[in-house]
């Protein structure tokens, strides 16, 4: 006779150490086993899309910093490209290279946070502080570049706000020389750790079909074996001129699309970002950094959709303009939001500890989910 057990409803969040912000999961568990897992989002809703309708185009730039605060540069870039396409603004080549440079640098530190918090959610605190130590250095570089450490507000329509300071590229190259061996060290320290692997390999597998059905994007999609990267497939800015590989999940360790491959993709992407950064530094052209127009920015009536590859995947801005200095509607499509939708599907049947691994592996950032 099977043992009769009672399920219980467990509220994971909104305040919970591993929900990465203010997220809530309603779990129906049988002891440790999760029968049902429903994400409850909206605790960090700030109405960014509505704000966009209230303020002139240029004034929304600082708000995009807050869209995904771990990748403010990438959000800046996505929004800037949207408006530039809509208003047909030329961008000088130096500005394009600077943009790619800062975006890739930001991708590195965003993935550093992802990898670090992943390790911390698995119970190892030291890798987190080690990744933060490296991130601090990049923050210093960004601070030197634009004066801010987290919400940069650096990219402008038609260029960037400041030119690179004296000796910035040397310092950046010194950071990269320091960073590459460190990346190797993380692999020895945490990626290859037996316990870490045990916790992640084969856990919460997302098949390629499922990933497509639920519109997973970015690293999460590539970890499931779908070879899709906007930087290569729909090149924007100067990504077309740069040589880089798109790491795609192969079931090298564990299964395709499990937590470990999602983790591993991020490590590989950091390596590729370093490669892109080195090319940018080499090819950095001279010239103006900002094609600054004196006129008030106005966008012709029409609809525009621009998507870019942010660290958390595709970041799309859908702009409806009816003329004038403000958008009629600005819809923002983010990677974390679509990643949240699959939690319910994959989450049931896992254990509570695995759910933590799943959330960490999807690299969800709560403000990006709720916007």
């Amino acid at each position: 006779m099977p043992l009769a057990t009672e399920t219980m409803v467990l509220n994971m969040g909104p305040h919970h150490p591993s929900t990465h912000g203010v997220l809530r999961f309603i779990l129906r568990t049988d002891g440790e086993l999760i029968h049902m897992c429903r994400p409850d989002i909206g605790y960090l809703h700030r109405g960014l899309e509505k704000i966009a309708e209230q303020v002139p185009y240029a004034h929304f730039m600082p708000y995009t910093d807050r869209l995904d605060y771990l990748a403010a540069m990438n959000c800046n870039l996505g929004y800037a490209i949207t408006i530039e396409r809509a208003a047909e603004i030329e961008v000088p080549p130096r500005a394009e290279y600077i943009r790619v440079l800062v975006a890739e640098l930001n991708r590195i530190i965003s993935h550093l946070i992802s990898v670090g918090t992943f390790a911390m959610d698995m119970g190892a605190v030291t890798p987190f502080t080690h990744t933060l130590r490296e991130r601090e250095w990049v923050n210093d570089l960004f601070e030197e570049l634009c004066g801010a450490r987290l919400t940069y507000n650096y990219i402008r329509f038609g260029g960037v706000a400041f030119d690179l300071p004296e000796g910035f590229l040397d310092r950046l190259s010194r950071f990269l020389d320091y960073f590459e061996p460190r990346l190797e060290q993380y692999n020895r320290f945490i990626s290859k750790n037996k316990i870490f692997k045990e916790r992640l390999v084969g856990v919460a597998v997302i098949s390629p079909e499922e990933a497509l059905d639920y519109r997973l994007v970015g690293p999460n999609l590539r970890a499931s074996g779908i070879d899709w990267d906007l930087r290569r497939d729909e090149p924007y800015s100067v990504y077309g001129d740069l040589a880089f590989d798109v790491p795609v999940g192969v079931s090298e360790i564990g299964e395709l699309g499990d937590c470990y491959s999602r983790y591993w993709i991020r490590i590989l992407e950091m390596e590729q970002s370093v490669r892109i950064l080195r090319q940018c530094m080499e090819k950095m052209p001279e010239g103006p950094y900002w094609n600054r127009s004196k006129k008030k920015l106005k966008v012709e009536p029409g609809e525009f959709y621009v998507r870019t590859e942010a660290p958390r995947g595709e970041l799309g801005f859908y702009l409806i303009s009816k003329g004038g200095i403000k958008p009629h509607r600005l819809k923002i499509m983010t990677g974390s939001f679509s990643a949240m939708s699959i939690v319910e599907k994959v989450g049931s049947g896992l254990m509570v500890a695995d759910l933590v691994a799943l959330i960490a592996s999807l690299d969800v950032v709560a403000p990006e989910v709720d916007r």
Binding site: A58, H130, D140, E144, G147, P165, F189, N193, K194
Partner: protein, 213 residues
Amino acid sequence: MKLFDHIKAYFLNIYEAVATISMGMWITFKTAFFERKVTLQYPSHDIIEGKPKDASITTQGNLNPPFEALLGASQQNYKGPLNTQLPERYRGLLGYDEPSCISCLLCALNCPIDVIRVKGVKIEGRKGKAPTTFRIDYSKCMFCGLCVEVCPTDAVFFTRQFEGATFDYRTLIREFISPELSLERMQLAEEAKKHAEKEKKKREDKETPEVGD
């Protein structure tokens, strides 16, 4: 044969666990004892000036090691921007240079969240308008820098001051122009206006008879 594989996997598991755990332990050990600490001991260290606050700290020598200490000997020229000092472009609390302000309202118009409030009057001997009100609400400011970017005379600028914490948010609403000065300017402007009106009237009075003729 299958059984043998299982046994092999069993012992490989043990080996892998022991090997990777000792590898990780070696890395933490190295970090703990052979690498410099990166902590910047902030209250004992003046970040704005980039030097220790208490002279006696320097005697210890290793209180605030810059990142270069982490590097190998080949790369020791890195001057970390923040490790000891704030960079030039640092966005601290907003500063205001009253004499150069022309009350053009560009900063107020470019602020996404209406942090800045400016009023100005036209007085003699000053370019543009003389400000009578310049108020910054630091509690709302998000340090985006749009106001600094558009200011034509660099009257609004970023200071490198960042210690703005307070117990009362009202102290964060800062008036840069004293009420006395403001009143004085308004009176001046009023007088000038009256004066101008008088002049105008006088001129009109002068002109009217001519028309009457």
